[in-house]
């Protein structure tokens, strides 16, 4: 049987989002916390079914240390997709670059994504990459089990639990509860930084034209970003504890905040 291959797409996100476009450095970039469970799920799959885990990230050189971190956490190989012409990408252009990379890394069994990124929060890249690759996608996966030789995943949707059996290759976006993330051991961190780092692929290596990537390949035009002031009000609820709890629940239900 051929060896399994699990690809996890990860993003280096900016720790403290600045007001304007932020320059990413090693010091202010972290592994997108929503990607860590996808990586952990890939490790679970490798433990059960064998194979190798590759992490892929499109980003500036400052994303390199984040990929090293994925190596320290246990990835077998990391690829940084890095080219000045990739800058300013929207989700479509990002997906185009990731899809090209997956194409070159194929064969692949499963491509895993976080549900969204902590700094842009669109939640679109996983779905758009799967679309670009013409692969089936299950979004917001909560559990994954290996069942009768097939991959069974569940997702919660509007109060219904959906269960899918998937054939490989396929793509998933993974919710944080799907896999337990582990702490990074110091020895592995040291080894990852002493060993070979991520492979770095530019547009040329991906066989993409500059027009397909970065700002040039992005149909989205951001006209303006305006911070919205939050209006907070405070109401006090009177009465004994039981009455206060009842009143609080009633107001939350009335406000449509809980069902």
């Amino acid at each position: 049987m051929k060896e399994r291959h699990w690809i996890v797409c990860v993003k280096a996100v900016v720790l403290d989002a600045a007001a304007g476009p932020a320059r990413r450095t090693a010091a202010n970039s972290i592994l997108n916390p929503f990607d860590a469970p996808a990586l952990a799920l890939a490790f679970d799959l490798r433990r059960i079914l064998g194979g190798t885990v590759t992490t892929v990230s499109m980003g500036p050189p400052a994303a390199g240390p984040v990929l090293r971190e994925t190596l320290a956490l246990g990835a077998d190989r990391a690829v940084l997709l890095c080219d000045p012409a990739m800058a300013g990408a929207d989700t479509v252009a990002t997906a185009a670059v990731l899809a090209a990379a997956v194409g070159q890394l194929s064969p692949v069994d499963l491509i895993l994504f976080g549900t969204r990124s902590a700094d842009s929060d669109t939640g679109q890249v996983g779905a758009q990459t799967a679309t670009a690759l013409r692969l089936p996608l299950v979004a917001d996966v909560q559990t994954l089990v290996w069942h009768d030789g097939r991959c069974r995943v569940t997702r919660d949707c509007d109060g219904f639990l959906e269960t899918y059996d998937l054939d490989f290759p396929a793509a998933l976006t993974v919710r944080p509860e799907a896999a337990a993330t582990g702490d990074l051991a110091l020895g592995r961190l040291e080894a990852a930084f002493a060993g070979q780092g991520p492979h770095v692929w530019d547009l040329n290596r991906l066989g993409l034209s500059p027009g397909a990537a970065g700002q040039a390949g992005s149909p989205t035009v951001v006209r303006q970003l305006t911070p919205v002031g939050q209006r907070k009000t405070c109401r006090f609820i009177e009465g004994d504890d039981a009455a206060k709890a009842d009143e609080l629940v009633r107001r939350l239900v009335d406000g449509g905040l809980i069902g």
């Binding site: 090693a26 010091a27 972290i30 390199g64 240390p65 090293r68 971190e69 320290a72 702490d183 990074l184 051991a185 110091l186 020895g187 961190l189 040291e190 080894a191 930084f193």
Partner: protein, 379 residues
């Protein structure tokens, strides 16, 4: 000269900080108040390599450099100085002499379990009548058959109540001079080895600092570290490295006090504005931040010199002196900025204040450090 963190150090700092924030900070006040050694966290730290930071990989350590060690101790101490102390002492003054002066057989026997954190190390120099004057120790190891009979009364042993492997400074000769002093390794299981009561300390209460007594304890000749009479040389080398750790610990405490003060000064309002708008408070904050920054540069420089294989003893002593005096000054100002709340256990700054104080005392007092520095400077 460049004192700059590499990508590895940056990722390491973030890794340790997030571990400490998640696992240690939430229990830091409780383990201080209950004087409890938090095994549940210590066991996790052992699995993650915190007990073998600079131990080579082939001896089951993480194989990291001194700057990494300093960053780790700083970040742990920022959450709980008592935990930072446990890690600092175990990695430096307990493990370092074994790695540097131990024979291959000794290293293979003691280092891997220590590096894996399955056993905890301690450094036993201080006695009731010998503190700053290390050459004044009275503990003895008398040749007896194929080993030694050891009698010792060691006090203020960091990690004492949980220590399995103790580096014990003893007299192996009878001249009464420095050339008598040697180091033997004493293990907890040895008959005659007894842990005394916990010291009831002002700070560092999460660390089980205690006395250790050995009464006619038979220790095999194998357990002698280096040669007879090398004790002070081993002790001084250990303390040179240890200083980087204690300096990093003081730095971590000072940073925690500064963090807490910034938060409080922005949020607490008096006379119609946040404390941070009052110039008197701004002056305090400026002094605190400046001292912390200077201490950090000194600590990282001492570690970087060591990593480069260059002489670092005087710089490490300067870093320890300056960082510990910074920690006491900065935690004092932090209490001041918090007013009455700073003096209450409702806020962590009173703990920082108590924890900081001892950094000017242990592993050589400030006075002893000034002597060391003066020797380095005057030649």
């Amino acid at each position: 000269m460049k004192i700059e963190l590499t990508d590895k150090h940056i990722v390491l700092r973030r890794t340790v900080r997030s571990f400490a924030d998640r696992e240690i900070r939430p229990i830091a006040a409780a383990i201080d108040q209950e004087a409890r050694f938090p095994w549940e966290v210590v066991e996790k730290m052992a699995r993650l390599g915190y007990f073998g930071i600079q131990t080579p990989r082939e001896l089951d350590g993480a194989g990291m450099d001194s700057l990494s060690y300093a960053l780790i101790v700083e970040e742990l101490s920022r959450a709980s100085a008592g935990i930072g102390l446990c890690i600092a002492v175990h990695n430096s003054v307990a493990l370092y002499p074994l790695l540097t002066f131990g024979s291959e057989a000794q290293k293979r026997r003691w280092v891997p379990p220590l590096a894996r954190g399955e056993r905890i190390g301690a450094f036993c120099l201080t006695e009731p009548n010998a503190g700053s004057d290390a050459a004044g120790i009275e503990a003895t190891a008398v040749a007896d058959g194929d080993g030694y009979r050891v009698n010792a009364n060691k006090v203020f042993v960091t990690n004492g109540a949980v220590a399995d492997v103790c580096l014990l400074f003893v007299r192996t000769g009878t001249t009464g001079g420095k050339e008598d002093i040697s180091v033997v390794v004493a293990e907890r299981e040895t008959p005659g080895f007894a842990v005394g009561d916990l010291e009831d300390l002002c700070g560092m209460r999460a660390n089980p600092v205690s006395s250790i007594r050995l009464c006619d304890c038979r220790v095999p000749a194998f357990n002698l570290l280096g040669r007879p009479g090398m004790g002070l040389q081993i002790g001084l080398a250990a303390l040179d490295t240890g200083r980087v750790g204690i300096a990093a610990q003081a730095l971590g405490i000072a940073q925690a006090a500064l963090d807490e003060s910034l938060r409080y000064a922005r949020q607490r309002r008096q006379f119609g504005q946040p404390l941070a708008r009052h110039q008197a408070i701004q002056m305090m904050i400026a002094d605190m931040a400046t001292r912390v920054d200077a201490a950090r540069l000194m600590v990282y420089r001492a570690a970087a010199l060591k990593d480069d294989g260059r002489p670092f003893g005087t710089q490490a002593a300067m870093a320890k002196l300056f960082a510990s005096e910074t920690a006491t000054a900065v935690t004092d100002l932090a209490v001041q900025i918090h007013g009455g709340y700073g003096y209450s256990k409702a806020y962590p700054v009173e703990r920082y204040y108590r924890d900081a104080r001892v950094t000017r005392i242990y592993e050589g007092t400030s006075e002893v450090h000034r002597m060391v520095i003066a020797r380095g400077v005057l030649g």
